[in-house]
């Protein structure tokens, strides 16, 4: 009977030791991705791709051009059903392609996708974009042996090897899910362009092959009175669209609400609304992002709309 308190004491000591070790582990836990801000992404697919490309860029940064041989010898590690790794020089010459080795050595600077976008040029330009820390570009590609276009979103890192060579390391997601960050980047870029170039930026923004338009996403521009400078729907000026009065499927006025918030000293705002899903016609949540900018001293708004990540099930 006297053994019971001793057994209890041992149990308490054992549990305390276990939790002490656990808390040491927790407090001492560090990730090699601490320099990489992944908090802006919502999907695992996107985070995994950024980490995958970042890891490859570290290999090149450390081992230089010798790293290329490592990638060639371990090609299977850099191809998955969802994404693969590629490396270009800054002139658009493909140096390594895990998924399509036959492209290696070719200059793909002028290669165009089905809508006329030039992925290599877009990616190299994105590397210089401060609004776009992981140099995202969106285009369509294809899968080896298949004949239909595959939508892609790719991220890139610029690497200077120990030999002094500048390279672009990238990887693209097949059939990507839309991240809010993707539209944040293009809207902020469009607002910046308007600030710098004024009216002449509008034609570039409305150009279907520019970075400001991809898949179902389209950057649009309007004045505080709701007058459209670049339309979110029709390209024709004859369409009489009163954005501020537009309602979603529940009767909610997202533009009106967003503008009210922008008038309260905010530069940008996110607004949620309900719309019909393109294929299934069920209601899905969408997200509107608006940023304030100026043309010739007049306040205007730049925006885009994307699908909001849906809960599973």
């Amino acid at each position: 009977m006297n053994e019971m308190p001793i057994i209890r004491l041992y149990r308490i000591i054992a549990f305390s030791a276990f939790f002490a070790v656990l808390s040491i582990f927790i407090s001492g836990c560090e990730s090699r991705y601490e320099d990489l801000d992944l908090s802006v992404y919502q999907y695992r697919d996107t985070k995994d791709l950024v980490k995958f490309v970042y890891d490859a860029s570290l290999v090149l940064k450390k081992n230089g051009l010798k790293g290329l041989q490592y990638f060639r010898d371990n090609r299977h590690l850099y191809v998955t059903p969802n994404h693969y790794l590629y490396i270009y020089d800054m002139n658009g010459v493909n140096i390594y392609h895990a998924g399509m080795p036959h492209l290696e050595g070719k200059n793909l600077w002028d290669l165009t996708d089905k809508s006329g976008k030039k992925p290599a040029q877009m990616a190299i330009a994105a590397l210089e974009d401060r609004n776009n820390p992981h140099a995202w570009v969106h285009y369509s590609w294809w899968e080896p042996g298949k004949f239909y276009p595959v939508p892609k979103s790719s991220c890139h890192f610029k690497v200077r090897t120990p030999e002094g060579t500048l390279l672009m390391v990238g990887g693209g997601l097949n059939y990507p899910l839309e991240e809010k960050e993707f539209i944040r980047i293009i809207v902020d870029d469009a607002a910046q362009l308007i600030k710098e170039k004024g009216d002449s930026a509008l034609s570039e923004i409305s150009d279907p092959v520019s970075q400001y338009n991809f898949r179902d996403v389209k950057v649009f521009v309007f004045t505080p009175a709701g007058k459209l400078l670049v339309s979110p729907v029709m390209g024709d000026s004859l369409t009489d669209l009163k954005l501020l009065d537009c309602v979603d499927e529940m009767g909610h006025k997202p533009f009106q609400k967003a503008l009210l918030e922008l008038r309260n000293d905010k530069d940008s705002v996110w607004e949620v609304f309900l719309a019909k899903n393109r294929y299934q016609r069920i209601l899905v949540k969408k997200s509107l992002y608006l940023r304030k900018t100026y043309i010739a001293g007049q306040e205007i708004y730049v925006g885009a709309i994307t699908d909001l990540p849906q809960p599973p099930g």
Partner: protein
């Protein structure tokens, strides 16, 4: 009596020893924390501030805690007196979100209060349902309550947070190991191990997840940045409450669906708590729906998400045979206390999804099988085959084919929303239609008996 043959570990009115009471209450809280994600998702979709999110979570936990307590206390005309805790249910989330977009927090509060009132008004009707809910339909409803958690349990088991996102093999392994631990503890464990199989499975699964996946470590480390104690912004309680007539019709439809779900949950709770009953006792069920309505209205007053009875917790009670209603009181009290300790709540909310998925599958098994057992316990005939078969086929189709219902006529869209209410409504209607011949025979026999009785009386009189 052998432990394996025991009907209960703790029966519905038994008060377990303090340690068991606390540990069992905590075991139920571990299931209830799954629902903390709902106000967080809601606030995220509203692009609200972290402060608003924290307040919404706190008030939702308070409403759930109070709801759990009044449901179990068995006050006069209030509360079923079963172990049937409350949590933020997904039933109202779409409507609440729409209300919040259109009219902000005042409208969200308004519709939540009205939903609670509608539920309370529907409660007395339940007592009149004796003839429309034969035992085999009750069994179907109980089974459907279990089936209704399939979606959330499987997506959680695979570690999925967002639709269409990547699934990791490591998460499947963590989920499978956790589930097996729970099942083995329940099958082969005795005493402590059997009663606390869920806690054991959750904590061992959590430790495994921390070892195998660094992401879970990193998330847990972030908890240290959360304050240990925090008070919510009570000023929201004094803000105005509004209503929007356009939302009343969808609100009533959803409130009816939610009442049916609560009805199903309470039937399941009764089945586990009082298996000796040969027919449904509708009084505790009516009182339970009133309590649920009050909890929903209270959540509206507080400015919280609408709360609902929890199918998973009833499944856990059935699985462990620990059915004491006082455990619900303790779980509610723990939930209320946790509401003021964001660090602890956040830590519990970080239980890996595959582990939570495993626990939901574990409790779902008991719900589904208890319902099927009850359903098939009666003599079976072709009429029942068609009632159950058609109701299940159409009910489950709402989950399998949502795009089909999105294109269907408005009247179909209104009633074919979700497997549980759709199956229940169809089963009740079909049972009446297919049983018309029996009803006719009953009326005819009754009429004949009355006629014979009248003739005999007349002859006797002569």
């Amino acid at each position: 009596m052998n432990a394996g043959q025991k009907k209960y570990e703790y029966s519905v009115n038994e008060v377990p020893p303090l340690a068991h009471l606390l540990l069992s209450g905590f075991q139920h809280v571990l299931i209830m924390v799954v629902a903390i994600g709902i106000p967080v998702i809601f606030a995220g979709q509203m692009n609200e501030t972290p402060q608003f999110t924290a307040t919404l979570v706190t008030f939702s936990m308070l409403a759930s805690g109070i709801g759990s307590i009044i449901q179990a206390l068995r006050l006069p005309y209030l509360g079923s007196g079963y172990l049937c805790p409350n949590l933020c249910g997904p039933s109202y989330i779409s409507l609440t979100l729409s209300a919040a977009w259109i009219g902000g927090l005042p409208l969200m509060r308004g519709i939540t209060i009205v939903a609670g009132v509608v539920e309370m008004l529907l409660a007395p009707v339940v007592q009149k349902l004796k003839s429309v809910f034969p035992i085999y339909v009750v069994g179907l409803v109980v089974a459907m309550v279990g089936i209704s958690i399939i979606s959330i349990s499987i997506t959680s088991f695979f570690g999925l947070t967002l639709q269409g996102d990547a699934i990791r093999s490591i998460d499947i392994l963590i989920g499978a190991v956790s589930l097996l631990i729970m099942v083995f503890c329940n099958l082969w464990g005795k005493g402590f191990v059997k009663i606390y199989c869920l806690i054991i499975g959750i904590f061992l699964g959590w430790i495994l997840a921390l070892i195998l996946n660094p992401e879970y470590w990193i998330n847990l480390v972030m908890v240290k940045n959360t304050p240990l104690f925090a008070l919510p912004q009570f000023n929201t309680i004094f803000k105005p409450i509004t209503l929007h007539l356009n939302l009343l019709i969808p609100l009533i439809v959803i409130a009816v669906g939610s009442t049916l779900k609560t009805f199903g949950n309470l039937l399941a709770a009764q089945k586990f708590s009082e298996p000796e009953l040969d027919k449904v006792n509708y009084i505790p069920i009516r009182n339970g729906i009133v309590a649920d309505g009050i909890a929903t209205a209270l959540s509206g007053l507080l400015g919280a998400m609408a709360v609902d009875t929890s199918s998973s917790n009833i499944g856990l009670a059935g699985a462990t045979k620990v059915l004491s209603r006082w455990i619900s009181v303790v779980a509610g009290a723990i939930f209320i206390v946790l509401a003021f300790f964001p660090m602890l709540t956040n830590a519990l909310a970080l239980i890996p999804k595959p582990v939570l998925g495993a626990s939901l599958i574990f409790v779902g098994c008991f719900m589904i099988c208890a319902g099927l057992e009850q359903m098939l316990s009666e003599h079976w005939d072709s009429c029942k085959t068609f009632v159950i078969g058609i109701a299940i086929i159409f009910g489950l189709s709402t989950s399998f084919l949502p795009p089909l219902y999105a294109r269907s006529p408005k009247i179909i869209q209104t009633f074919f929303t979700d497997p549980l209410p759709t199956t229940t409504i169809l089963a009740v209607i079909l049972n009446q239609i297919f049983g018309l011949d029996k009803s006719y025979k009953k009326i005819r026999d009754k009429f004949k008996t009355q006629k014979i009785f009248a003739t005999n009386t007349e002859n006797g009189g002569k």
